[in-house]
């Protein structure tokens, strides 16, 4: 058994040791057992799409050079990539669909515990969809918008409304190259059709559709999810909270909400604050109810309600192993099927709630929005009833938890930059033009045990802000940096370059802006549109001095996100290569030739400092092309 | 303490010496070589001529080998006569040595045809390092050379000469190259490769006259056509060096006749290598298979039996491996099908475009010959099937496939576990 070479933050290390002492297998052990991973899989040259196979290409040239149907390595890898983009986009689009459903129910006053929180935003979005709002009742606007959005999901021809936000040049590129999504569900379905045996056998054609699918996510499903979540649950403004396992409390009922869709987590957050339930908790001997979250749903309630983040993706099992979690409630995506088994070693209950996502060993209580408040309270009550069963002698909560500030929406950034009286992006653009800020970088995505150092996000972000790059973050990548204390204004003074420090001091913001969960990567698209609109730093998205990175990506959703940024003109660096090196022409296309189409491209680099270098060089290249002033405080 | 004498210091002789020493570290072992050169890899002389390898790589066993194994070596000492009645050998220089057991591994020498002018300066056989050095010495002043004979020796010489920038013509009496090794079709692949690389092949012709005054100027063929040539290499076969037994009762044919212990008809005299005739199962009769690996194998058996062991020699099989300009060719057993014999069968695969050819020659469902051009990957398995006389009926339809291999014959061969690794759950019969 090879040595355990994983590092990571102190709380994770501590809990991993406890897991090992208890002989509980976690994601790290399972990762080692899978080593060495199959070489054919890693190179992207394995195809399981039909029963002529399964087929594999010999990357060393001796054996088969094509599958049984005749597909070569490029076709095989391109089909695999297109399916992955479709799967990731499908997840985000489905997430959006759930929220459209709730909007519809709220409009009909059928959703218990839900309401329109940001009516102004509702009107703005409705207007974007061509719905007249003057003199209309909010519920009517909501109803019309929900119907309009449903139609857009099923749209066959035409364009997506929110894609119109993009600068003209970008839209022209999309239209010229047939990349403009025609409908949200259509593109994903067509992706599955194209990748069947004997359909699309041109790797370029497959990738072009892949970009269209990704755009139907980024400017479709994800963006809809973000905007509707703001409408229903409030548009975020920066809040302070804490991150890491230390947020769990020995003397309170600990509930963890895990998964993605805020429809559930918001209801649980409300129920956890219910005075009756708090009273019940006290009757059971607890000092209160402590809600914390894992993965994106944590971030949804973090940015709107200040709920603490217990951990990111890799820590979900460790949270249970603290022995302090009375109930973990999950909906869908990024939830490990190992959780119920681990929970059975403790008193912890796992409750699954979504008909799409079943976990054997969990208790299934379907969450119906019509009875949202009741069901949420029922589940919180279950947690309280479970509290006395906690074996206090087996409770081990690491003490680490770090302050963080999160919740920077595009609307807030307007406010933040504009000060009290104006909403504007000008200070950001000016800062970039003047050379105080080099550019903006998105550091997003998952955490992955294959990156044994466990500190890739941290090293990358530190290097970027040291070089005056303003960083925006979402997802587990943001949680990773939060645990390290980087998501605070103090980090500006500790790690940021001088130019960035000056802007942060003037504006009063951290050098790293936490935007929220992964669907909120669409906020980056929206913000980029505003930067272009404000002017002076590029007339289209691909001219902006920006770059993106997913240093430890794991999920297919990350692939979809990466590709909607590439299709929108951005350089995206993945820390772990996507499996395609076995397909030489496809590799060349995604890392090089695609830049001629959309202005964006994919790059792979595992070392965080080198990753930063690639992004900084790219940003510098864009600065040069725009004739911006040289960096004020050059490194 | 016995006294072993080995006449011959090449493949067979050295294999015998090693086999003896494995069993008997005390007795005296004396080796005689008629060449004035340490034991060398004879088959590498064409690479040496071509300057593919340097002289230091041609040594087969260094001086230290003889010292470490306590072997007395006489170089440049030809044994001219054997006296079996008195158990002694007499050398050219009149010295005499007695033996308890004797191995005759004297090899063979190139045959020269009685073409007019064949005795001129500039005509060489291609067998020894001496031949090679003499040819090499002439290369700086050689523009054009002729090779007589289209066998392995001739073609290897042609390769060496061509590599050194000499214009080469190969003159072959038969209608194809390598007529002893390959069938017509396979020979075509080789010929095309040679021609692509600038070696001219002339078929169906023989040299009628070698023209020149002392030195060679030209070669004239049967047809009357003549070519400029100042160097001739003769590759028209070898004849065993067995003059030394002429006055004895040792039975011989073309070579010394060996039984299945590799003894001659005289109990303490053994024979191995290019001078020995052994039973060839693919031909069904005794023959000389003058091939390096065969000589080594035979030498091993002789040495073992001379030292008191009782090994049975299962017979020799023709086996040749050669590569021409990136085209590998292997020939096993015999490809020549007896005219009219009903129970012969040929399995054939040919892909001219990719230079791939495979032919299996069967007699009563036993493989007696196999030819491989281009793809020689698991030819060893076929050699095994020939030698171990495996009936191929259970997997006949798989023989020509790329995926055929050892696992297909596993259940039909006997194996000693001392063969290192193994497969668990092998079927036990």
């Amino acid at each position: 058994m090879s040595e355990n070479k994983f590092q990571g933050d102190a709380a994770t290390q501590e809990m991993r040791k406890i897991a090992q002492d208890l002989s509980i297998q976690t994601v790290w052990e399972r990762s080692l057992l899978q080593e060495p991973h199959c070489g054919f899989g890693m190179l992207g040259i394995c195809c399981k799409n039909c029963n002529l196979g399964p087929c594999r290409i010999d990357p060393f040239g001796e054996g088969a050079q094509s599958g049984v149907c005749g597909a070569d390595a490029d076709i095989i890898a391109a089909r695999n990539l297109l399916r992955h983009i479709a799967a990731g986009a499908g997840c985000h689009n489905d997430h959006g669909r759930e929220i459209v459903k709730v909007l519809n129910l709220v409009a009909q006053n059928k959703a218990q515990g839900y309401m329109i929180n940001d009516a102004e935003k509702l009107k703005r979005i409705a207007q974007e969809y061509g719905i007249k709002t003057d003199g209309k009742e909010v519920s009517k606007i909501a109803q019309e918008l929900a119907e309009r959005l449903s139609l857009e999901y099923g749209q066959q021809e035409g364009e997506l409304v929110l894609a119109q936000r993009a600068p003209k040049k970008q839209k022209d590129i999309w239209r010229k190259n047939n990349l403009m999504p025609r409908g949200i569900d259509r593109e994903v379905t067509e992706a599955l059709a194209r990748t069947n045996m004997g359909v699309d056998n041109d790797y370029r054609s497959l990738m072009m559709h892949g970009m269209r699918v990704a755009l139907s996510d980024g400017w479709g499903g994800s963006m809809i999810a973000t905007e509707l979540s703001d409408i229903l649950f409030s548009s975020p403004e920066p809040l302070q909270a804490k991150a890491n396992l230390g947020v769990l409390k020995e003397d309170q009922v600990n509930i963890i909400v895990h998964g993605h869709v805020p429809v559930l987590s918001d209801a649980i957050a409300t129920a956890s604050a219910d005075p009756e339930l708090i009273k019940l908790a006290k009757e059971k001997g607890a000092n209160g109810i402590n809600l914390a979250g894992i993965c994106c749903t944590a971030l949804e309630v973090l940015i709107r309600k200040g709920v603490n983040v217990a951990g990111n993706f890799l820590q979900q099992e460790l949270a249970i192993i603290t022995g302090a979690v009375d109930l973990m409630i999950v909906d869908l995506q990024c939830i490990m099927p190992s959780l119920p088994d681990i929970a059975h070693c403790f008193h912890t209950k796992i409750v699954s709630t979504n008909p799409r996502a079943h976990f054997p060993g969990s208790e299934y209580i379907e969450f119906k929005e019509e009875k949202g408040t009741d069901i949420a309270k029922q589940i919180v009550r279950m947690a309280i009833e479970n509290y006395p069963k906690r074996d206090k002698s087996r409770v081990h909560i690491p003490k680490e938890s770090q302050d963080l500030i999160g919740g920077f929406s595009t609307e807030y950034i307007f406010k933040m930059l504009g000060g009290k009286y104006r909403f504007t992006f000008k200070p950001l653009n000016d800062g970039i033009s003047a050379g105080r800020i080099r550019g903006v970088a998105g550091v997003v995505g998952c955490d992955n045990p294959k990156m044994k150092s466990g500190g890739t996000h941290i090293a990358l972000v530190k290097e970027l802000i040291k070089n005056d790059v303003l960083v925006v973050q979402t997802g587990c990548a943001a949680t990773a940096c939060a645990k390290e204390g980087l998501l605070t204004p103090e980090a500006a003074f500790k790690y940021a370059g001088r130019g960035l420090q000056e802007i942060c001091a003037a504006v009063g913001c951290p050098p790293i802006l936490h935007l929220g969960p992964c669907v909120d990567n669409s906020r980056i698209l929206t913000a980029c549109c505003e930067m272009v609109k404000e002017g002076g730093i590029g007339a289209s998205l691909d001219e902006l001095p920006v770059a993106g990175a997913a240093p430890e990506w794991m999920s297919e959703k990350a692939i979809a996100i990466g590709w909607y940024f590439v299709a929108s003109g951005a350089l995206v660096v993945f820390g772990l290569p996507y499996p395609l090196y076995g397909a030489k022409k496809l590799t060349k296309f995604v890392m090089d030739e695609v830049e001629e189409v959309t202005g964006g491209r994919w790059a792979f680099e595992s070392d965080p400092i080198k990753m930063a270098r690639i992004m900084i060089e790219h940003i510098d290249k864009k600065r040069k092309a725009l004739n911006l002033k040289p960096m004020m405080y050059q490194q | 303490m016995k006294q072993y004498i080995i006449i011959g210091n090449s493949a067979a002789g050295i294999a015998a010496v090693e086999a003896i020493r494995q069993r008997d570290k005390e007795s005296k072992v004396t080796v005689f070589s008629d060449e004035d050169y340490p034991a060398y890899c004879r088959c590498l002389i064409s690479y040496y001529l071509a300057a593919d390898i340097k002289e230091d790589k041609i040594v087969y066993r260094p001086e230290s080998f003889y010292k470490e194994n306590n072997i007395e070596l006489f170089l440049n000492k030809k044994v001219s006569r054997i006296d079996p009645k008195k158990n002694r050998v007499i050398c050219e220089d009149k010295t005499q040595f007695t033996y308890d057991a004797l191995l005759i591994a004297t090899g063979a020498s190139p045959k020269f045809p009685d073409t007019q002018g064949i005795k001129k300066r500039g005509v060489f056989g291609f067998r020894t390092i001496k031949d090679t050095k003499e040819i090499a010495g002439l290369l700086p002043v050689t523009k054009a050379a002729c090779v007589l004979g289209g066998g392995l020796i001739g073609l290897k010489a042609a390769y060496g000469l061509k590599k050194k920038g000499v214009d080469v013509k190969v003159i072959i009496k038969s209608k194809q190259v390598l007529s002893q090794m390959l069938d017509f079709e396979a020979a075509g692949f080789v010929q095309r490769k040679l021609e692509e690389n600038g070696i001219e092949v002339i078929l169906g012709q023989d040299a009628a006259e070698i023209i020149g005054n002392g030195d060679i100027k030209a070669v004239k063929l049967d047809s009357g056509k003549a070519f400029e040539s100042s160097l001739i290499v003769v590759g028209k076969g070898v004849s065993p060096n067995i003059d030394l037994i002429k006055e004895t009762q040792i039975k011989f044919n073309a070579g010394l006749i060996a039984d299945n212990s590799l003894k001659t008809n005289i109990p303490n005299i053994y024979t191995a290598g290019d001078c020995a005739e052994t039973f060839d199962a693919t031909l069904g009769r005794h023959t000389i298979n003058a091939l390096w690996p065969v000589a080594v194998e035979q030498g091993k058996v002789c040495g073992a039996n001379m030292a008191g062991d009782n090994l049975n020699y299962a017979g020799s099989v023709g086996m040749n491996s050669i590569e021409f300009f990136g085209l590998p060719v292997i020939s096993l057993g015999t490809y020549k099908v007896k005219e009219g014999e009903a129970n012969f069968e040929e399995l054939r695969f040919c892909n001219t475009k990719e230079n791939l050819y495979k032919k299996i020659i069967l007699r009563d469902n036993f493989i007696v010959g196999a030819l491989f051009v281009g793809n020689i990957g698991n030819s060893g398995v076929f050699l095994r099937m020939i030698r171990e006389r495996i009936n191929i009926s259970p997997f006949k339809d798989k023989l020509l496939q790329e995926s055929f291999g050892y696992p297909d014959i596993m259940d039909f061969v006997s194996e000693d576990i001392s063969y290192g690794d193994g497969y668990l759950n092998k079927k036990a019969t």
Partner: protein, 156 residues
């Protein structure tokens, strides 16, 4: 002396051992770089299917090696101490005699490099790479005497 054994019941024919082997003998030892090397490494082990089973085939380092006998350049030698057939690339001329005589077909020619492709039990690495690479544990690396009696068929 450790040997390689194969539990044929567990071999799925996935060929992960082949890839791992080629990779271990490449210049860079990095999968993504190895497939771009000028002269591609070749696996020393090949999985051959026969009837319904799969068999990894690689040099068995026979105690009485036919390839050593056949080598005309004295490039292949049997090392008693290591229990292995060793190959000296500097002496090898690529004549393919060894390919011709190997009773297991375990040697393949690499025409480009003129070197025979044959298993060297990853002699510089401590343990053959294929052992860990096999996802089902069909490749076993252990002392010859450690096997239970009757595990190998003892045919003669």
């Amino acid at each position: 002396m450790k040997q390689l054994y194969y539990d044929v019941k567990k071999c799925l024919g996935c060929k992960s051992c082949e890839i791992a082997c080629a990779l271990a003998h490449s210049v860079s030892s990095d999968l993504f770089k190895a497939i771009k090397e000028e002269i591609l490494s070749l696996p020393r082990k090949k999985v051959i299917s026969s009837k319904d089973k799969n068999y990894p085939v690689s040099c068995r380092h026979c105690k009485d090696p036919k390839c050593v006998d056949a080598c005309m350049a004295a490039a292949l030698v049997y090392d008693k101490e290591k229990g292995m057939v060793l190959h000296d690339e500097k002496r090898c001329v690529g004549c393919w005699m060894c390919v011709m005589v190997c009773p297991y077909g375990a040697i393949r020619p690499n025409i480009k490099t003129k070197i025979p492709v044959r298993c060297d039990k990853c002699k510089d690495k401590g343990e053959p790479t294929c052992v860990k690479a096999c996802p089902t544990g069909a490749i076993i690396w252990q002392e010859e005497i450690a096997l239970p009696a009757g595990t190998l068929s003892e045919k003669r």
